[in-house]
Symmetry: C2
Subunit: 241 residues, 2 copies
């Protein structure tokens, strides 16, 4: 069944107001009518709803809250050296399916992509990918996307997380991911992954000096676009299976 993502403010006394753009989708793409059912997600819960009226906006009546929560119990933020567009889109589509909470592109010194300005068009395109993948994987929330921050901003963000893990190859590891996940119930994990050509020496030092824990992602060298998928899969396996 079709799934729409809304803000909590769009719900009032069991009635949901759907905006013009989603109304266009309901009317002209799905060709739905009064009485038809849709799911609505407010970034925390999902609801089964019935269409009450369709005009410029659509109003829905909440029939029931869905009990099944498809979100990971821990918020995983992936921060990654800015990737080439095609790779970034592939990673974002996959991470959305895998339950990632947030994706942050970071300017790193070896990033091939040197983008200071990200166009609105590009951000719209990414938001569309996230929306479609969230719908297809039946999530209750949209993955957050931050297109571009500096390396300095990344480091100063560490304080917002209760665990920061550094996914680097050929480094001596502090601890295994399994040990970390079994020791403590984390709420907000930040993972740092390099761009295609890896980290510079000074970036590595800065990350370690800011007390990130270096972990391994298995015995083989993974390309940067596969590393975050491995991490989300491993955490989902540990938490959900």
């Amino acid at each position: 069944m079709q799934r729409y993502f809304i803000n909590k403010t769009q719900i009032n006394n069991n009635i949901v107001t759907i905006n013009e753009s989603d109304t266009h989708h309901i009317k002209n793409v799905m060709r739905m009518s009064i009485g038809d059912n849709v799911y609505v997600c407010d970034n925390i819960n999902a609801y089964l709803c019935e269409i009450v009226s369709i005009n410029e906006v659509t109003t829905l009546r909440i029939v029931k809250k869905l009990e099944n929560n498809p979100e990971l119990s821990v918020n995983i933020t992936i921060s990654q050296g800015k990737l080439q567009r095609e790779k970034e889109e592939m990673v974002i589509k996959a991470l959305t399916q895998l339950g990632c909470y947030q994706y942050i592109g970071v300017q790193m010194s070896k990033s091939i992509v040197k983008t200071k300005k990200i166009t609105d068009n590009k951000i719209d395109r990414i938001q569309k990918i996230i929306k479609e993948a969230s719908e297809q994987s039946q999530r209750n929330r949209l993955m957050k996307y931050v297109s571009n921050i500096t390396f300095k901003e990344l480091i100063s963000n560490f304080v917002n997380y209760d665990l920061v893990i550094f996914c680097d190859i050929a480094e001596s590891k502090n601890v295994t991911l399994k040990e970390l996940l079994s020791e403590h119930k984390y709420k907000n994990i930040l993972a740092i992954i390099g761009p295609e050509s890896g980290f510079s020496k000074s970036e590595k030092d800065a990350i370690k000096n800011a007390n990130a824990l270096t972990i391994s992602l298995g015995k083989r060298i993974l390309r940067t676009e596969i590393a975050p998928l491995f991490l989300l899969s491993a955490i989902s396996y540990e938490e959900e299976l």
Copy 2:
């Protein structure tokens, strides 16, 4: 360091003979000389070698066997409904990095790709992808690739594995993957994954009747190209971290 994949028969009394095509790579791409070092992998072990002579073929002397084994302790075969070319290539590249033992394309009734004949060109292209990904991820063996079997052949292959798992959405699960992996040390696991549009009813019935165990891959619906990546990552996490 450059890594070449050979057959065991190319090793004789500590001397390795490298074929013409890899010799071309050593001479003209890497521009290496006598005395330079390379790694050689015979699908089980990897060796540090020194170049002894370069002519039409190259001869190497084994300096030492490498102790670090980057292969998973369990052989995972992914069988998947035949995918569109681009998706199949993406999956194969990722699975090679993640330590997959074998990939088998299967004709399923909902596959968009209806290929009876796979051209040699196409198979060469896939083998090249596997070789490059094996080298980059520093594996000791090349992932095996079977381009195309019938669904009937898939079912008759079940006897070659000590565990067959069926990765389907919206099915009641027999058991969790974590339970399976903790109960027993499997040597050869076959996983069955659908094409883009999923399995037909009769395919599902045949798989279950042949005693495959239905398992879950987390709480969200994964697209077919992400499902095998999840599975390999989860098994690597369980076995190696």
